[in-house]
Amino acid sequence: MIQQTSPEIGGMGHPVKRKEDARFIQGKGNYVDDVHLPGMVFGHVVRSPYGHARLKSINIENAMKIPGALAVITGADLAAAGLAWMPTLFHDKQMVLATGKVLFQAQEVAFCVATEQYAAADMAELVEVEYDELPVLVDPHKALDADAPILREDREEKSNHIFHWEVGDRHETQNAIQSGPVTAKVDAVFQRCHPAPLETCGCVADFNPVTGKLTIWLTSQAPHAHRTLFALVGGIPEQNIRVISPDIGGGFGNKVPIYPGYVCAVVASLKLGRPVKWIETRSENLQSTGFARDYHMTAEIAAERDGTVKALRVKTLADHGAFNAAAQPSKFPAGLFSICTGSYDFPKAFCEVDGVYTNKAPGGIAYRCSFRVTEAAYLIERAMDVLAYELKMDPVALRLKNFIPTDKFPYQCPLGWTYDSGDYPAAMNLALKMAGYEELRKEQAEKREKGELMGIGISSFTEIVGAGPGHTFDIVGIRMFDSCEIRIHPTGKAIARLGTKSQGQGHETTFPQIIAQELGIPQQDIVLEEGDTDTAPYGLGTYASRSTPVAGGATAMAARKIRDKARKIAAHLLEASEEDLDWEPGKFFVKGAPSKAKTIQEIAFAAYTNLPEGMEAGLEAVHYYDPRNLTFPFGTYICVVDIDKGTGEVKVRRFIAVDDCGNIINPMIVEGQIHGGLTEGLAIAFMQLISYDESGNVQGGNFMDYLVPTAVETPHWETGKTCTPSPHHPIGAKGVGESPNVGSPAAFVNAVVDALSHLGVRHIDMPVTPWKVWQILQQNGVS
């Protein structure tokens, strides 16, 4: 376990208040839209009203008559510069501005630049675009039909099929499923939803024609990777590009991709030699930037009559929209979806995924999860409940029977992953105790007698986070390590810079706590900087719960390098040999003589004033950490719902969340992360959907239709924790930000289905709206 430091040092495990909150709650944050530069002008995107149409002409004459109009950039202009298309993160390409045709509603068609923001918007209204409508493909199940329109004329393959990917043993799994004796099957759609961060995407691109330097303030979760992509795609020398991610108002995966608006702002700044600001509207964010999920899944489980699971087979159709812009750096087209065996010891498993194009916005981003893990966790947790109904077994008993045994870790799963550590019964048992599970089941039986609808939903999920080992994860070939550079000043204070970028996770508080833990320097004496590519060491950014597993490892390792040098300096100061020194957080002392000690502050001063002969001055280190494996946080969630028979409204009465994320850096921040993730999970389960009508119109492209949870809808969260450290991670931490969003949707849906299970209901697709529930009640004669 982690050695406890004093509250003054504030190392790991202390509920240190978030340093960044002082400026956030006083309105003193500095977001991209707060950047104002002399001579700055504004961009606005003209978007396609059609889901699929041929572009006939663009007339900019009237737009250029608006006072303050400076330029309209079209796809043809970009094509002349070789920039009409850009690569996506997953081996596809994407139009920056449309040429030839448009492939989804709200696609970028032209970019207007004016001296005032509203003038640019007025220009966009006056750009005249002529289209010829083409047949629209909305339903992914029809994408491969013989009469489906072929969307991507730029590809050699004249088909809407993007990829087929499979893992596991198809033949043996099929045999096991066929031989039963008990099988369960569920068809589940994880609907298209959107992270909808409070701050939309945007940038300020500032090309200085004199120095040749391009500075981009960007809403970016991965500033270094974006700098390299701008250099590779735009042909700008990388030393002349500086990407700055200032404060970011929520990302959740939405700010991982590069969007056409960024590229257009850069092109406009290069063309005009002036800073160009482009900030999305809310609707633009919902309609055109990275959506999440849209996985159409089938799971089948075979089991013995006693409930022992034998095999899992998963077949999935993935709707990627018009371009495969899935923001995922694994080598697998469906990311980490093959974690779909979850927390259970399946001897056999097989998983296959086919990706298709449709006339919808591109994306497939990992919304508060590692790549496709939420879909996988939802599917297996739903399927286990369906199996429990088939077996007439309690869903808790079925799970306990099939958990990967605690003594089997590290556990090799049939789909190829090595789970680092876990104690699933411990989390389950704590959750059952907190919930009073037996009592709840009794209450449910009594209520059912009286005709009242109450349900209890269980989800005992396993996550896979921390991308990642460089052999499996990369962005354009750059391995997914991360970095930390620490400099100790002569007075013993410090600055740390990382390759990650907080979007609300509290990095300015937690990373100093890791350094405080390792070096004994009080956490308040350590400043943290991220997001400026001119100063921070190269890193791959923050998403997929990778900051703690990867950059957290780098931070501990860099601190340990400093401690190694500090030991040498301490030995010099104490005139002792290094081997005779002991360490406790904050000081080295001579073994057996604790009063003969040198504090880290004294050592830091000596590093600049009184060094051993031949030693380099200074006390600093940088570490690039490439993890040996991913980490596997887990937990058990229990949801209790009551359903109003008259309206179909579901009320979440209680929600118990027991999480195990290994060693905890800051318990207060972990608690906050869990509250936030559960609230987003609640919204996905009950409220959120981006759909398209048959003409390709986005439904759910504004906050009137795409609902965001408020305090009114959000129940009280009851949290608990167990601690199973990661054996391979330098500080035994696993990452937690995403667990509640990954684990909770199944708990909510399982609870609703449980309340209706006596009516024969086995599955309801999200969002579980009152209307859907009401219809089910009507069909079953309940009122």
Partner: protein, 187 residues
């Protein structure tokens, strides 16, 4: 976004008089807020334009209307229309069936069934806004239609001005907001 809107109203004029007005697009167009005919292609095909303003977004559809059925005996009129916004903000197609029935009072019962399919920003407002907008447009249409029946020579005020549509949408928004707040929706 396909929306089916069915509307009925009654007028005191006899069926032949009503039919004469309804079956002549050149006359009836002046009753549609924001609409005008720009060209007569042949007896049954006309080119025209209609403006709808929702918030800051002005959509000016330009397109063609065809009379596909003109049944003098049964008093049934079928129109097909298709148009695109002049600045590429979207498109719409429409199929309208108008049926007249004589009333015992000597007046006429009018049934108009319209199926509209809209692509673009208007469609994103969803069905509730579409039907609210159409309610207000229809209300203005019936008022003007009756006015025109009574006085065939009268030009309904500023028929082709999109300004009318501003008020249309202003009041439609009002209805939506009132409904969202739980108030009554009297129209």
């Amino acid at each position: 976004m396909a929306v089916r809107i069915e509307k009925t109203f009654e007028v005191s004029e006899p069926i032949d008089k009503v039919w004469a007005l309804l079956s002549d697009p050149r006359k009836v167009v002046s009753c549609v807020p924001g609409a005008k005919l720009t060209e007569t292609v042949d007896d049954r095909t006309f080119k025209g334009a209609i403006s709808v303003k929702v918030g800051p977004s002005l959509t000016e559809f330009k397109g063609e209307v065809k009379i596909v059925r003109l049944d003098e005996q049964a008093h049934i009129l079928e129109l097909d229309g298709k148009g695109q916004d002049v600045r590429g903000k979207g498109g719409a197609s429409m199929k309208m069936t108008g049926t007249l029935q004589s009333l015992e009072t000597g007046g006429t019962h009018v049934v108009a069934v319209t199926e509209v399919n809209v692509v673009g920003i208007l469609a994103q407002f969803g069905g509730r806004m579409m039907s609210d907008v159409s309610d207000v447009i229809f209300k203005q249409f019936t008022e003007r239609f009756q006015q025109k029946l009574k006085n065939p020579e009268a030009e309904p005020q500023a028929a082709a001005e999109p300004v009318n549509a501003v008020s249309v949408v202003g009041s439609a928004l009002g209805h939506t907001i009132r409904r969202a707040l739980g108030g009554s929706n009297e129209s």
